[in-house]
């Protein structure tokens, strides 16, 4: 029932929640939601809610980048957040979500991995960015990407003891400073029409999905989902919309 209704609305240029095609739901970001995390944030897109926590550890740099630290992004689609999610290790949807968020941060160099180096070739910081869904009303990708940035922004390092042993109980005053704010925007295509920020009812009837991460007008990561494709004209249109939205969304986070 809902499916046909959503489609018929889109064909008449309107949406089930009354938004314009290029209009996101109301976005709310709250930071420092968990004291034991080095950085944490909650992000809501309408009724969709995601929390992200950043934990830091000291590890060994990869041999091919001895002067760089790294990030590890994980996502848990909690069965608490939707009747459609089940217990168990992350499946394909959770893995895709984590990897899209990872690429948005990694490729834009929002975090300078060189600044995560403690001692070249021996010790570096590893940032664990863990995403948890609290309520899934569609477009977890954009909510998770924004929450991850908000959690990273100003995340405090742990104190280091002698020999670079990490002190898990204490944070220092040193903070992560993001180099830029890459914004991820997800678009859906329904019967040839393009909508931004699909909600859960719209997600059910998407022909195709495209997520784009942009920073200062440049494109850093993309991911196409869904069973159908996009034309070049559609891609052109979507990128224009993504760059336009970036200006709006990046105001939501104040860089430290």
């Amino acid at each position: 029932m809902d499916h046909e209704y959503v489609i018929s609305l889109i064909e008449n240029n309107s949406r089930i929640d009354g938004r314009n095609f290029n209009e996101c739901r109301k976005i709310i970001i709250e930071t420092n939601i968990s004291k034991n995390a080095n950085g944490s944030a909650r992000c809501k897109f309408g009724d969709t809610e995601v929390v992200v926590g950043v934990k830091m550890d000291v590890g060994e740099p990869y041999p091919d980048s001895p002067d760089e630290g790294s990030i590890v992004v994980g996502a848990e689609l909690l069965p608490l957040s939707s009747p459609e999610f089940e217990l168990g290790p992350p499946g394909t949807q959770a893995t895709e979500l984590a990897r899209i968020v990872d690429r948005g941060i990694r490729e834009s160099k929002a975090v300078d991995f060189k600044k995560l180096c403690i001692k070249e070739g021996e010790k570096c910081w590893i940032l664990f960015i863990d995403i948890y869904t609290i309520n899934d009303d569609g477009n977890l990708i954009d909510a998770a990407a924004l929450a991850a940035l908000a959690a990273l922004n100003g995340a405090r390092f742990n104190k280091l003891d002698k020999d670079y042993e990490i002190n898990y109980n204490e944070h220092s005053n040193e903070k992560i400073k993001l180099e830029l704010l890459p914004v991820t925007c997800t678009f859906g295509k329904i019967n040839g029409k393009i909508i931004i920020d699909p909600n859960s009812k719209e997600e059910k009837v998407l022909d195709a999905r495209l997520s784009i991460s942009t920073g200062n007008g440049k494109i850093y990561a993309m991911q196409k989902g869904g069973d159908k494709g996009f034309t070049l004209d559609e891609i052109n249109h979507i990128i224009d919309m993504a760059i336009e939205k970036e200006k709006e969304l990046k105001r939501l986070i104040k860089l430290v």
Binding site: S34, P79, L80, D136, D137, Y168
Partner: protein, 234 residues
């Protein structure tokens, strides 16, 4: 003997509590419970069909609880997913909630309760039970009472309520004994009882009496939070 508590509380005083119902729209029932720096959220899904079918009970519905901590809720990152501790807590949570439930109306069905710890500073299983109990009520499952829970114990020779992390890790004067309890005020029964440490019978009875009083306070806050969501409809 322990002279005073590190956070300035009286021995019979719980930390600041806050409860909220209806925080997860997709769920049939949901709630948040905060006690000090410990934050638990819970969601209830169901009654819904139980798969695989051989698990179904034709007489009544079954309750399934799952307790989980976020990786960032504790000082050293916890690996995602279940471990022996969380499996045991899920089990005792189920047993703490079952006595107040009447599931005879839901044959072959399951009621799923998911608990997530967003921030941990002791008493997480109790906070989870408090949140889960409110979420079940919010989901409209028939209940004889709300289940309240708190961790009591003996720290440095003193019987006290609602241990924080420093108290749980206390090493002097005989260390710490931790007794997580759940209590249903209407019939005066304890539905969760665990203990690790050491104490005399008299001390245990004193601790349980103290826990009973703390649970009554938590019970009031649970009721308040549940009434809160119906205000708007009036």
């Amino acid at each position: 003997m322990l002279e005073k508590r590190n956070d300035g509380r009286n021995f019979n005083e719980i930390r600041k509590i806050e409860a909220k119902v209806g925080i997860i729209k997709r769920a049939n029932g949901s709630a948040m419970f905060k006690i000090g720096d410990t934050v638990a959220i819970a969601a209830v899904y169901g009654p819904r069909e139980l798969h695989p079918r051989f698990l179904q009970n034709p007489e009544k519905g079954i309750l399934r609880c799952n307790y989980d901590m976020t990786t960032f809720s504790v000082p050293e990152r916890k690996k995602p997913g279940p471990n022996r501790r969380s499996v045991e807590i899920s089990l005792v949570t189920e047993k703490a909630l079952l006595p107040v439930l009447d599931l005879s109306m839901y044959p072959t069905s399951v009621i799923d309760v998911f608990i997530e710890i967003i921030q941990a500073n002791s008493g997480t299983r109790c906070a989870g039970i408090v949140a889960a109990s409110m979420a079940l009520a919010h989901a409209g499952i028939p209940m004889k009472d709300l289940v309240s829970a708190v961790s009591v114990g003996k720290v440095g020779g003193r019987i006290l309520t609602d241990l924080n992390k420093e108290e749980e890790d206390f090493k002097d004067f005989g260390g710490a004994t931790d007794i997580p309890i759940a209590f249903t005020p209407r019939n005066g029964e304890f539905t969760l009882l665990q203990l690790d440490g050491n104490l005399t019978k008299e001390e245990l009875i004193d601790a349980l009496k103290l826990g009973r009083e703390s649970c009554k306070l938590i019970h009031k806050e649970q009721q308040r939070a549940l009434k809160e969501i119906y205000k708007e409809i009036e």
